[in-house]
């Protein structure tokens, strides 16, 4: 029993050291702020058959909401990777804004919520075609 506890403690220390090394190494994939072309390219992976209409890009460039007919395609950065989901466009429009982020609730245990940064010059919901970076 003692041996197992020692092994677990040793493993926990090794985990912490390896995570610290990974953080120090700074070798994630590059994820520059999104632009409309990048949004189209990334969403085309998961939604190859969808027509992308209006593109709204989050204030920090780390996400986007795109209208595709009655659906909103949501793109959100996670670390150095991307997560996509789709919800009803009306639900996206009605999503609340708290703490400078639009909070999207999803009926999906693998991603129950996604949030994207908004700002005064980049509000959600978009105020008209001029604010949609199509």
């Amino acid at each position: 029993m003692n041996g197992m506890v020692i092994q677990l403690l040793g493993s926990a220390v090794a985990v912490a050291a390896m995570v610290a090394l990974a953080a120090w190494a700074r070798i994630p994939r590059p994820t520059p702020p999104l632009d409309a072309e990048a949004v189209r390219r990334l969403l085309a992976i998961d939604y190859p058959d969808n027509l992308l209409e209006d593109i709204w890009i989050a204030a920090d460039g780390a996400g986007a909401i795109v209208r595709s007919g009655p659906r909103a395609l949501v793109l959100s950065r996670l670390g150095d990777s991307w997560v996509t989901r789709d919800i009803a466009w009306e639900a996206a429009l009605a999503a609340p804004i708290r703490g400078g982020r639009v909070r999207l609730k999803l009926a999906d245990p693998s991603a129950p919520r996604l949030s994207l940064a908004v700002s005064g010059v980049n509000p959600w919901p978009p105020q008209g075609d001029l604010e949609l970076a199509a």
């Binding site: 092994q7 985990v15 990974a22 953080a23 991307w82």
Partner: protein
Amino acid sequence: MTLDPIKPAFDPVTWAIPVFVITIVGEIILGRLGKVKANYEARDTATSLLMGLGSTIAGALLAGSIALVSIWIWENHRLLDIPMTAWWAWLAIFFLEDATYYWFHRIAHERRFWWASHVNHHSSQHYNLATALRQTWTGGVAGTWLLWLPLALIGFPPAMIAIQKGISLVYQYWIHTEAIRRMPRWFEAVFNTPSHHRVHHARNARYLDANYAGILIIWDRMFGTFIPEDEAEPPRYGLVKNLGDFNILRVAFHEWIGIGKDLMSARSPRDVIGYLFGPPGWSPDGSRETSATLKARWRERQAAAEADPAPPMAAE
């Protein structure tokens, strides 16, 4: 020479832990120096390694009970007396265990109940040595260990089965890397390799449900699930629908929660069976995506592109 048929003389995974640490450190440093292809993101790495640590704990909690079943079958119902000291016995269990692993792994991908336990291993969008350690917490509960019981029934001592399972797990560690592009052709033909296993971890439609091998890729070639890595389409790693955060509880349990929610909405025994044992993504009305539908749509797009290629660019 005698070997204890019940208690393994050694645990290959425990012995390999220092190698795991050294090689992950090596992959990160070589990646940092630009010597090999290796991407690490700190939170993703933490998630993978904590899942590995949790898997060790979860495994230890159930290991005794699972071992008891294997021992009981071997002691009371074995068909043959297989000596642990015979070379042919190790050769036989090498092939039989690896074939068992192939079918376990295939079921773990193609049937949702077992996918719920295995999905966590595929939940990283990275493919590095740390990803190899992103192991299940719920494998014991899912009962996939039952598939190895026939080996005890045949007569392989439980210790021998445990050692061979450990050897298989350790073998599969090193193939979780982008640092190695291709092994020699003869090796790629027979063994599971980084290239073959990159395909297995890919979420590209064309690569779904392929390369289930443990050590030998021959099973995929025999049973029609082998897909080679295509240089023209690099694998994109992760799940068809990737996780929304790095919460390890979500990594471990999200598919089980999804099954629970679906069962609450089931309206018939057919729905219950489909949600539990259908392919991941199964739904009564077919409105969700399964690997089969994703692959079918990919094939349609490929056929359409071939039938109607883009017009040639005007000569400059």
